[in-house]
Structures are given as C-alpha cells and as structure tokens.
Amino acid sequence: MRFMVIVKATRESEAGVMPTPEQLAEMGAFNEQLIKAGVMLAGDGLQASSKGARVVFNGKERTIVDGPFAETKELIAGFWILQCRSKAEVIEWMRRCPNPYPHDGGYVEIRQCFEAEDFAPAADSGPKA
C-alpha cells in the first residue's frame, strides 16, 4: 500500500524561513531511517506559496492566480510517499518524526493512495525471463 504524508504549512514556511541546521539534520536522520527500512519512495519540502500559482477552474474558464495564498493552515509545505503494509505502520513511523512545527504545534496528515485493485481486478502473467 502506498501513502502520502502531508506536512502542513506554517507562518515560518510561508515566510520562506529556512529550517535550522539542527532541524535539517534531525529530519535527515529520520529520512535515513525510512530509506533503510525500504519504505520511502519519495519526499520533498515545498517552497513558500509566494512562489506558486493556482489554476482556477470555473466551467470552461481557466484563471491563473499567483501566490502567496492567505489561508496558511490549508497550505502544504512538504510530503512523503511511503510504501507500508498498513495505516498503523505509517502512524508508527510518523510518531517517530521530528516535530516539523517547533513553534506552532500542528499535524501531519496521512492519506492512502488508490491502487490498481481499487479500480479493476488483477490477473496473472509472469514476468519475462
């Protein structure tokens, strides 16, 4: 099963404040554990929404709105893509995550990705050679 873990934005992340070397080292060590366990497929921190944009859909119309966006709590600042055997496993991993919000408090959100089985039945055909 594949999960996305979403890190919410903070005033600091939105202000473009970079993590301290200690925070970076802590997060690096945590990522290292995920890699050594073979569960981390991808992950990145995101730049502030001031560098982003939105494509707003309204019927056939498309309107482009440049960042920054006001509602900080609804924005995201980073993500992991993890391969785990259950949601409980992801929870156990994220309990071990260094606090991404040392000043504010906050949460990371765990969401499960859709898999092929969610759309269609699977069938057999062996790998080649």
Binding site: I81, Q83, K128
Partner: protein, 419 residues
Amino acid sequence: MTTDSHAAIEAVWRLEAPRLTAGLMRLVRDLGAAEDLAHDALVAALQQWPSDGVPRNPAAWLMQAAKHRAIDLLRRRTRSDRKHDELARELDEGMRLARRDPADALDDDIGDDLLRLMFIACHPVLSAEARVALTLRLLGGLTTDEIARAYLVPEPTIAQRIVRAKKTLAKKRVPFEVPAPAERMVRLASVLEVIYLVFNEGYAATAGEDWIRPSLCDEAVRLGRVLTTLVPGEGEAHALVALMELQASRLRARVGPRGEAILLLDQDRGRWDRLLIGRGLAALDRAVALGGGGGFYALQAGIAACHARATTAEATDWARIASLYARLTDVTRSPIVRLNHAVAVGRAEGPAAGLVLVDALAADPSLASYPYLPGARGDLLERLGRVEEARAEFVRAASMTRNARDRDVLLARAGAKVS
C-alpha cells in the same frame, strides 16, 4: 484492549521484529532462542501497552524487555554442561551488552546484524523454499499464517519448514556472520535469488485473492531496498532492485477490465507507474556505475529499462534489447532466454532473422511443451505472410497452454487467419 492499540502494537512489531531478532541473535547465537526471546518481549508489550500506552521509544522498550530474558537464558546455560570457553564468551558478550543502553547496543551494529540475519536466512544449506519462508518470517516480520496464505499452503507446512530450517542451521553450526570475501559472492547471490523468488510469487498472484499474495511484490522490493542500504557497493543488489521496481511499475497495466492479461506491448503506458520507473532507472544507473552492468539482474533490468523508456510500443529500442538478451544467454544458458532473444531479433532485424533463431530452438527438449515457442513462431510466420503455417502454430500453442485466458487469445489469433 482496543483495536487501535492492537494495530499499533502489531505495527511496532513488524517494524522492530527483524532488528530485535538480529540483535538478540548476536547475543544468544541461536535462531530459535532469539525468536523466542523477541516473541516474549512482544507478549510483554501486549500485556502492558494497552493500559500504559505505547512507549516513546518502543524499540528500546522491546530490546530492554528481551535483554533481561536473554541474560537469564545465558545464566541458565552456564549451569548446563557446555564447554567452558564458549560459556565465558557468551557471558562476556552478554555483560558487555547489559551495561550499555539497549537502544545504543542495537543501533551500533544493527546494520551488520540485519545483514547477518539476511545471510543466515538465505544460507545455501537450506532449500529455496526454506530460505523464502525464513526470510519472510525473520526479515519481513510476517507470521507463519501470513506466509502460508501467501504461498497457498497449509500453515503447519510453513511452520514445519521453518522449524526444520532452524534445526539445519543449528546442526550445521552455521555461524551468524557476514561471509568472508571468498564466499561472499555465492552467499549474496543466494540472498538476491530469495528476494526475486518472493517477487515472482507475488507477480504471479491473481485477483480476488488474499491481499497478502500481491503484496509479496511490495515486500520483495522493500527487502531489496533494505539490502542495498546494507551492501551499498554491490552492483547486482542495485540491479535486482532496478529490475523489481521496473517490473512493479507495470503491475497495474497488465490486467484488462475483465481481468484478462494484457501483454507488455499492448499495455496502456499511461498506466505505468512513473514513480517506480524513475526509481528503477536510478537504481540501474547505480548498478552500472558500480560496474555491475553485465550481471544476471542488471541485464534483465536493462531490458526492462528499454521498455520503460519507450513512450510507445513502436518506439522500443529492439536492437538494444536483442543485444542485452544475447549477453543474457551467455550468463544463463536458459532456452527461454534464447527464445526471448529470438523474438527481440525478430523485432529488431525482421521476422525472417527471428524465425531462423526460433527454428534453431525447435529441437530443444526443455521447450517441447512450452507454448510460447509455437506462439512466437506463429507471430513471426504471420508477419512473413505465411498465414496457414502461422494458424497451425497458434492452434498448437493454444493446445499447450494451461492458462484459459492465454488459450482464448491464441485461438482468436488462429481464427483471425481464416479469412
């Protein structure tokens, strides 16, 4: 106990059991005893955590709980009549560990211990079946029941297989060690083989079955990734991960809406998993950079990469695939690989060139009942315009296959030639 805390303990267990068992194995040098000690620690957790909550550092908690019991065990052993120097060594080690923080003791050498555990679970004195079961149990943290369900055999069969494997390892006095350089390549090859066997078992799984079977693919790729962090300098380990990531990238595209198998060239490439393709190609680059471009897994990964890089079936670099298969025939001598080589040549140089190679295989007794041989021959004949001969080959292939869906496809092709 709430289901939540039960699920939490199970999750901690799956994450920690391999490291815990590996650390205990270093202490007590006996797989059965190490597993029992780890399991006792789990039982203690199941008793305490639901009321006290999951501890802040569950790994350290479990190791602490197991360590107390391990020291007891070592003390009891001193009262038995075993060789004095052996006892002294065990006790020294036990006391050295006992003085240290258990979490530190684990972290210091945990990589090496996990690697030793992988090597011992995949030891060549064991049968392939036993190696697979032991690896899934020790490194995957799967229960015997889960392994049994994954392999469609009764649970006692797996339990027995594991018990016998542990006895064999004890009887043959297989040491808990990273093998010496002279032995290393053979031992590593055994580990890679076991991981790939697990992957293929999952790959062959069908739908509607227990979730555990297809998830064997995920578990195999995960174990492969773990291995590459333990032996980062081994090109073939990276190559195996590349091969598995690339094959796994096509898992969801190989089945049609009615559950029918879709062959690689007919798959909707938009459904290929780009994340896994990217990871597979990166792993292959690492394998090649480490000088591991010519091995069994690297060549297959190279072939899988050719397909992954082609945005359409027509854009496939068949010349490169044919040359990789040619090199693979030197490595494996497998007639099936030679058949695949012939098919690739048929794409790269035209059906006539492919047919010469396929016909050279016709007399191979190991392919006598292999439906893909007449299937491939039929395909080449069809492209040469030799319609009646092609039709006969498809009918022959259909009579040989045991897969009903494959038979339908082959008969349809035979029928299409009537007009």
